[in-house]
Symmetry: C2
Subunit: 349 residues, 2 copies
Amino acid sequence: MSVLSTLRHPIVAAPMAGGPSTPALAAAVSAAGGLGFLAAGMIDTGRLVADVAEVRARTDRPFGVNLFLPDPGGVDEAAIQAYARRLAPQATERGVSLGAPVGGDDAYPEKLAALLADPVPVVSFVFGLPDRVAVAALRERGTEVWATVTRPAAATAAADLGVDAVVVQGTEAGGHRGGLPDDDDYALLPLLRLVAAGCDLPLVAAGGIVDGPAVAAVLAAGAAAAQLGTAFLRCPEAGSSPMHRAAVASAAPTALTRSFTGKRARGLANDFLRQHDAAAPTGYPQVLHLTRPLLAAARRDGDASVANLWAGQAHPLARDLPAAEVVTEVGAGARAALAAAVERSTRWG
Amino acid sequence: MSVLSTLRHPIVAAPMAGGPSTPALAAAVSAAGGLGFLAAGMIDTGRLVADVAEVRARTDRPFGVNLFLPDPGGVDEAAIQAYARRLAPQATERGVSLGAPVGGDDAYPEKLAALLADPVPVVSFVFGLPDRVAVAALRERGTEVWATVTRPAAATAAADLGVDAVVVQGTEAGGHRGGLPDDDDYALLPLLRLVAAGCDLPLVAAGGIVDGPAVAAVLAAGAAAAQLGTAFLRCPEAGSSPMHRAAVASAAPTALTRSFTGKRARGLANDFLRQHDAAAPTGYPQVLHLTRPLLAAARRDGDASVANLWAGQAHPLARDLPAAEVVTEVGAGARAALAAAVERSTRWG
């Protein structure tokens, strides 16, 4: 029986690396009948193991862990150096030095080994597709494997790899694009329909979904569940900073940009994004490491004009509620929206 | 009683100026229980009057007419001249001269006067919001007024103008952006939810909707109806060129660009779009008039690498069927998708 079929609400907590996703949030979502997720990206393996243990201590319901796949490399070093020169005065002004724009694999092999040694119910991948060996090894240990796609062809490729489900991420999603390359611009609804036309796997719809009617919409479009990230950013269990919570609650528009990390991600459109977007090169995690001290200083200073404030397009609808209430209210809202649409449909013609 | 409440299927034919929308298509959609639309943009007033007469001769069901609002002006003439110099060699190579990059109001006052003199059931607007006087004058004559929005704040402004319904257009839509400015990037589903949070008017969801489950999705998200354009491009009643039909049937991705007309529009990503997108200035209808002879020559030559081939993101799902069958099959598919989602929802928890 698939993990999705055990849920009381068709709601998956999107993994949000860099702070927002905590064991407390994952456990609260799972305990409420959704599927909680840990974000294994940008932490070390010891921390991942500890986070998994903490979720297990808090709930016996299933949960997932999301892994960042290593970038295939081939970045334009000269472009990254030029971007470093562009940002240097701003760093100096704030009294910090930029970081070294180094590459790296986010300890992916070690994290994967840890998840094979001590399996969890679901492992999802972002930043491309996992290799066939990793998929098979995880599934042999009873772990469901989910791939993340941002274009129709990637869903077919994921199905060929033998994954159990596909996370379909539209351009309205907050945070990083989960596909590789990072420049697809499919919105969720057309992408979901195009993927469904060529792929029989359960689909988890991601991007811009905050409330019950939006969950109802993706279920009507054929998704097995909806993945919500921004909807949980204001929950007390989330690790979001006060500045991030305030930004999410505003009506400010978002934009996709490589300016913060070298990989396209959607966040609130602030001064840093507007100033540097057009000049920002492709290069993850090099640009992430480059900007990290500057962005950390901006967070420390409470300067929302410079910090990266990831959010999906429907962020003003996110509510300051315990995660369990978000799950139950959004789940109930989805049922009500479907029932209302069916009722209206009886009046046609 | 509103026109939307008289439909047998919650399907509106999107107005597609420049050829695809014909009186035959509008009449077929209306006669099948949807709402057909004429596109009044880029034709003269005499042709509009004749098209309205032809729809009436073909069906006694309600239909709509879409008007282009005149651009407020203020274009960067130097940027348009620079773009003209960039395109000149390509025009010469094809044996044509570029057009004069003139402005113009698309005979808007005259077309509006014609629609006031001989009212139609619905008039919708694109390229910003109509003025209060036009809205009131149309409504006094029994015409429903629909505004098109691409950001949440525009829906509130439209409601303040007294319109009857709001067309909510997501970034996945084919053809021109209906809002002003043209750079919003809200996808349909989050935009629909954000608009619904601040506006009680009936919402018509537009962008990337081709099949029944997508219609079901926007109904579940609170829309009163879905507006489909690309879904009708391959119908025999449409005026689409053979080259356009073939492009729509392909799996090629689309992109938003100002390169063809000076206003952002979504079309198949071909050589012309890729070569000129980054250099294309804002300036509608100046750039439209500039490129027109070049694009016409490309169409004449059957050169899909240069022609503008508008399409929404789900275009591969469009079918070569009579318009009445599209309406009835998509309508039935929407009902079935809603029923299936409700059925699945009973299994949760």
